[in-house]
């Protein structure tokens, strides 16, 4: 019972070795792929295209075995064997090689899984051998067995005359194969539509990649024939081109080896493209998060980091200081401050390949804007003196409180002056200003009149008109400074000397040379502030920042300042795809001491001199962090380990495609040896025969390259750009699959090159026969040609 299949394995050992290898590779790939994918909770259907491909590949191989056994089957039928017995005989032989390959593949998979897990899974995660991978391989085996059983039908039903004929003649495509063709084309169209209609359906993307590849592979013979017609057109007078064109145009099996190969290439393009895109994304995200080739946390305040970089690198060539304050994941709560004056020298084009390219370039604009801010008066320790006059028409004693808000050595500080002024008179008061040893910047001046108006009497209760003709604080004459009323509409609050319109809600303010005229707001208090252009902190923004009614940003010390939005970009250095970026020096100039959440940092070039590095380390810089480390962290957060299974799918699919081609190559080689012998019998010169072979192979290679590249490109455009490959963490750049991206083009180019080289190698292998193999004497007796 077992002897006949074993004999068959021995006789057809070449084909069965290929079936064994395909089964081995597929089992290993499926087992490890599903094992890794399940461990990281990734999409299991990532191995689906490989399984589909293998189904077709193994069917092609077993069909080839059946073709070789055509005569055996004819004998079985002539001997009157029952259909069941013939079926068993047909299936037993490939089943042995198939099962052997699967078992060996499972063993290899169990052995390889820990290694792959170690390479791809986040640290500390190990892949356990579960039931699922075994089940998947068994299902795969069952599918192949069922499909093989279906192949018995033509064996039993093929006309006996054809089965016993010494000459195998080309057959028209049957109903089943035609239906299969239609199904593949229709399935690929529906799959592409579904992928676009429902981008989240990853299994559709995976399955369609194989269908699309098979559809392209089915078109390959037509393309090959077209290329053959083109290369042979008008060349009938030359023997070599004519022979090559005839072989390409008329051989029944021409392009057949390309079908599975093209399908495998397409699956590989999508799988490999996915892996490369995700890896590139993680790499880019790591670069963006790092901000520069070297990232160092700094043990100290942002100001100290700024001072340290300026001390260690006075020329600003190697390092810049920065700070991050990430309160939460909302973009407006993620603030990054960098010393933009050094950005170009230190960071330069480091982020040019990333999504932060434009944001990085905009830092220069941010620097210019920050440096172009008007100078604000700097207050020092001393006295704050106020002389206030109240208008005569005011009917009561004005009980006034003035509050001077400033930022100094202690951060935000405030000084008070309380003064009561009778109508028509003036009073002067002075207090001491402290905390301005270094310098202070005035934030605002609150003017409060003791009694707020009730809503019902608001039109009756007057507000005093205050004339401040002497306001000097720490050496700064505040009457000569520009002021605006907080909350007043721009230009409506008496911002100029001629402005007289009373805006009761926010009060009024007249700026008259040498004095300020203020009428406090109904609520009792008005706040005089420097104009926004003086206070504003220029920022770059990334992501959907919720600015509220007026753009506002916090300093490293948590002080609110109006934000001047320089531009919004897809991503910004260090901040990523969500956050704001401001100049550190500008932000610190008007900031309270940094909040505890502020993380000072230093960015540096990777060629930073050792002495500069040592100086920074001595000043408090921690261990350097490289972009790769950031990438690893982001990859772990995004769960990219599951995508790495794409490597398994890509490599296994390509190997399956190549192995399947080998099955055909063996047959083509036999046919070519006979044809070569005939040509030698006819005295066709060796150079002519060689030229014909070369032309044929190059035409096949050309067609293969075109169809592989086109199918890969189409699959990537139609499918990969619609797949959700990873869960992008908050505020990381979006994972996009632009077809022009280097990763995708690289994947397509690599796969196309590999397939083309394989076709060239296989083509010449099939046509390279030993001199004695193709001897005319070999035609004496034996297989009838054709």
């Amino acid at each position: 019972m077992i002897a006949a299949p074993v004999d068959g394995l021995r006789v057809r050992r070449g084909t069965h070795a290929i079936i064994f290898a395909i089964a081995f590779i597929t089992s290993t790939g499926t087992f490890t792929g599903i094992g890794v994918a399940r461990e990281v909770g990734a999409s299991v259907p990532v191995v689906l295209p490989m399984v589909m491909l293998v189904l077709v590949a193994l069917l092609s191989c077993t069909a080839e075995v059946n073709r070789e056994r055509r005569g055996d089957f004819a004998l079985m039928r002539l001997r009157g064997w029952s259909s069941l017995r013939i079926t068993a005989a047909v299936l037993a032989e490939p089943a042995l090689s198939l099962t052997g390959g699967c078992v060996a593949g499972l063993v290899a998979g169990v052995g390889m899984l820990p290694f792959l897990a170690r390479a791809w899974l986040p640290d500390g995660t190990s892949a356990s051998v579960g039931v699922w991978p075994f089940a998947a391989v068994l299902v795969e085996l069952a599918l192949v067995a069922a499909a093989m059983a279906a192949q018995v039908v033509p064996v039993l039903r093929r006309p006996m005359t054809e089965q016993i004929s010494a000459t195998e003649r080309p057959r028209e495509a049957g109903v089943v194969s035609t239906f299969g063709f239609v199904l593949v084309f229709f399935g690929s169209v529906v799959g592409v539509y579904q992928a676009w209609a429902d981008p989240g359906a990853n299994w559709v993307v995976h399955a369609t990649s194989c269908l699309l590849g098979l559809a392209a592979g089915m078109l390959a013979p037509w393309l090959v024939r077209g290329a053959g017609a083109w290369q042979g057109a008008g060349r009938r007078d030359a023997v070599a081109p004519h022979l090559a064109a005839s072989r390409i145009l008329r051989s029944s099996g021409v392009g057949q080896p390309l079908m599975v190969l093209v399908a495998a290439a397409t699956v590989s393009c999508v799988a490999l493209g996915g892996v490369l895109i995700v890896n590139q994304w993680a790499g880019d995200a790591g670069r963006i998060a790092n901000g520069a080739p070297v990232f160092m946390r700094y043990q100290g305040t942002p100001q100290q980091a700024l001072d340290a970089t300026r001390a260690a690198d006075p020329d600003g060539q190697w390092a810049l200081a920065g700070a991050t304050v990430f309160d939460d994941d909302r973009p407006e709560s993620r603030r990054v401050y960098l010393d933009t004056s050094r950005y170009e020298d230190v960071v330069g084009g480091f982020l040019d390949t990333t999504a932060a390219r434009e944001g990085s370039h905009a830092v220069d604009e941010l620097r210019e804007t920050s440096q172009g801010l008007p100078e604000r008066p700097v207050m020092s320790n001393g006295r704050w003196t106020m002389r206030v006059a109240v208008n005569e028409s005011f009917t009561r004693l004005a009980e006034l409180t003035f509050r001077l808000n400033y930022v100094g050595d202690r951060g935000a500080d405030v000084a008070f002056i309380e003064i009561a002024v009778p109508p028509g008179q003036s009073r002067t008061k002075s207090v001491r200003i402290t905390g301005c040893d270094d310098r202070c910047l005035i934030r605002s001046l609150d003017v409060e009149e003791g009694r707020p108006c009730a809503q019902v009497t608001k039109d009756l209760c007057g507000r005093p008109k205050l004339t401040l003709d002497q306001v000097e604080a720490g050496g700064v004459d505040l009457t000569s400074q520009p002021w605006v009323l907080e909350g007043a509409a721009p230009g409506a609050a008496g911002a100029g000397p001629d402005a007289t319109d009373a805006v009761a809600e926010s009060g009024t303010l007249n700026l008259i040379p040498g004095r300020l005229e203020v009428r406090p707001a109904r609520r009792g208090q008005s706040t005089l502030m420097p104009p926004t252009e003086l206070l504003a902190l220029p920022v770059l923004a990334a992501g959907e920042v919720d600015w509220g009614q007026t753009p506002e940003v916090k300093t490293p010390g948590g002080d609110h300042r109006p934000a001047e939005l320089v531009g919004t970009y897809a991503a910004l250095p260090v901040a990523g795809a969500g956050g704001v970026l401001a100049d550190l020096a500008t932000a610190l100039s008007d900031s309270s001491p940094a909040v505890p959440a502020a993380q000072a940092l230093i960015l540096a070039r990777d060629d930073i001199p050792a002495d500069v590095m040592s100086a920074l380390a001595a000043a408090g810089a921690e261990e350097p962090v490289m972009p790769d480390e950031q990438s690893s962290n982001i990859s772990a957060a995004a769960g990219t380990a599951g995508v790495q299974v794409g490597w398994v799918v890509a490599v296994c699919s390509l190997m399956v495609g190549l192995l399947t081609s080998l099955v055909y190559i063996a047959r083509l080689r036999r046919a070519h040896a006979q044809e070569e012998a005939v040509l030698r019998l006819l005295l066709v010169p060796t150079p002519t025969r060689a030229a014909a072979n070369r032309r044929e192979v190059w035409t096949l290679a050309f067609a293969s390259a075109v169809v592989t590249c086109a199918a890969g490109y189409l699959a990537v455009v139609a499918l990969l750009t619609r797949a959700e490959l990873v869960d992008v963490p908050a505020n990381q750049p979006a994972l996009e699959s632009p077809i022009g991206s280097t990763s995708l083009l690289t994947a397509i180019a690599l796969v196309t090159l590999g397939c083309t080289l394989a076709v060239i190698a296989g083509g010449f292998l099939a046509r390279h026969v030993r001199h004695d193999e193709a001897s005319p004497a070999s035609l004496r007796e034996g297989t009838v040609t054709p």
Partner: protein, 241 residues
């Protein structure tokens, strides 16, 4: 057509001679001390049961196989050229046809001429003529794998005769043919012989044997019979059509 002229130029050098030819393959003796002379202008039949060595004999005679012992020569030139390719003076009709499956019947025939340097137009014109000799003009454009066995056999004959080689070695050239076509084939081969060519036919068909001028019988690689046939007698009398 230079090849044809060259082939017919020297009838005296067209005699194919085998002297003491022996051939051993893997210790098995396929031919043993075979000496024969295939005269130009005559049809020679080589007969014998299956496995007697007929095809092997033609292969050695035509230069496809190197004899282990003895020589096969055409005129004064050995047919074995050291490569396994036949000399240009020899045309084969193979038992297995030996057609190029991807070419049409006409292209198969024309290819034999084009391999000898004949231009495309001329080759196709002669190919059509050659196919016409075997009533195959109507299938000239068809790919040979679409033809029946008998048609393929006649295409192989057309191809062998179109080059007008001085020596034609035909291995079972009528095995797939009906009586009418067999007669046509014999008639065409006779025409070749009458043109001074050496025609050798390996066959086990007695009718073919009777139609030839000379008959060698082989058994287990040895010559067992040599006879002038009735055809030779009738030809001598001038009564053979």
């Amino acid at each position: 057509m230079n090849a044809q002229n060259a082939g017919a130029s020297s009838i005296s050098s067209n005699t194919l001679t085998m002297e003491g030819v022996g051939l051993d393959v893997h210790g098995v003796m396929l031919l043993d001390d075979v000496s024969m002379r295939f005269e130009a202008g005559r049809m020679t039949a080589v007969s014998g049961p299956s496995g007697s060595g007929k095809t092997t004999l033609l292969s050695v005679a035509g230069g496809l196989l190197k004899p282990t012992r003895g020589t096969a020569s055409l005129g004064s030139t050995l047919t074995w050229q050291g490569t396994g390719d036949p000399p240009p003076q020899v045309a084969f009709v193979l038992q297995v046809y030996g057609l190029v499956p991807v070419l049409s019947a006409r292209e198969n025939v024309a290819l034999a001429l084009r391999a000898r340097g004949v231009s495309l137009d001329e080759a196709e014109e002669h190919a059509d003529e050659a196919l016409g000799r075997f009533d195959l003009t109507h299938v000239g454009a068809r790919q040979v794998e679409e033809l029946s066995g008998g048609q393929m056999q006649r295409v192989a004959l057309s191809r062998a005769l179109v080059v007008q080689a001085p020596v034609v070695l035909a291995d079972e050239p009528t095995s797939e043919l009906d009586e009418g076509n067999r007669d046509r084939v014999l008639s065409e081969l006779r025409r070749e012989a009458d043109l001074g060519r050496t025609v050798v036919i390996a066959t086990h068909d007695p009718v073919i044997v009777q139609a030839c001028d000379v008959h060698h019988a082989l058994d287990e690689g040895r010559v067992t019979t040599f006879e002038e046939t009735l055809a030779a007698t009738r030809q001598a009398r001038g009564t053979l059509p």
